[in-house]
Symmetry: C2
Subunit: 97 residues, 2 copies
Amino acid sequence: MDDEGDLFKAIGDATRRAILDELADQDGQTLFEICGRLTMKHGLASSRQAISQHLGVLEQAGLVHTRREGRYKFHHLDTSPLRAITERWPVDQPDPS
Amino acid sequence: MDDEGDLFKAIGDATRRAILDELADQDGQTLFEICGRLTMKHGLASSRQAISQHLGVLEQAGLVHTRREGRYKFHHLDTSPLRAITERWPVDQPDPS
DNA sequence: TTGACAGGCAAGTTGACACTTGCGTATAAG
DNA sequence: CTTATACGCAAGTGTCAACTTGCCTGTCAA
């Protein structure tokens, strides 16, 4: 799949959108931290492996960048690929009152 | 599926994104017009029924509105639901040079 | 070194969805 | 009325991806 398709596929899943929300709330979390907070706040009972696969999809779409440090791997949010969406189909800015 | 999921599901398919492109290029087309132009310009060999189902998904997501006139049904693009994406994950405006 | 911790890899299963197929309905042209 | 046009509906099919399951690798502490 091309890069463009990767982006839309990435945000097409509800669990991955929750992960993006979580990283937007607190950036630079590890896999286990994300698992814990998703279970707490969103009530999602997702396994570690499932979240890991989701993070892989998000990383391939360029929405998440990773940084290794010892046995920890920190995940960082990057929203810039989302610009392609509103640039492709321009959205009128409403109510400039 | 909730409204939010409908939006992301709608733009998650490549054929539906091509339909949005087509309506952005020329608004208010009928089903048959869209079929013809998709075949010409994008080389997509999609059946009428397939495009019809795609338009139904786009309409449910609020990205397309329809208007009936006799035996014709015109499809109009509405990009405003896309605002929810960049509002949910704010995108830094780059390069303000 | 032993064990716990953080994460990775890969095969198998299941459900969702894109697409087809066939028929039905309504409008308009001849 | 007959025919063509424009579109709708619904059941069946096949494929893909989300998830599970099981095992493996690398890092750090005791």
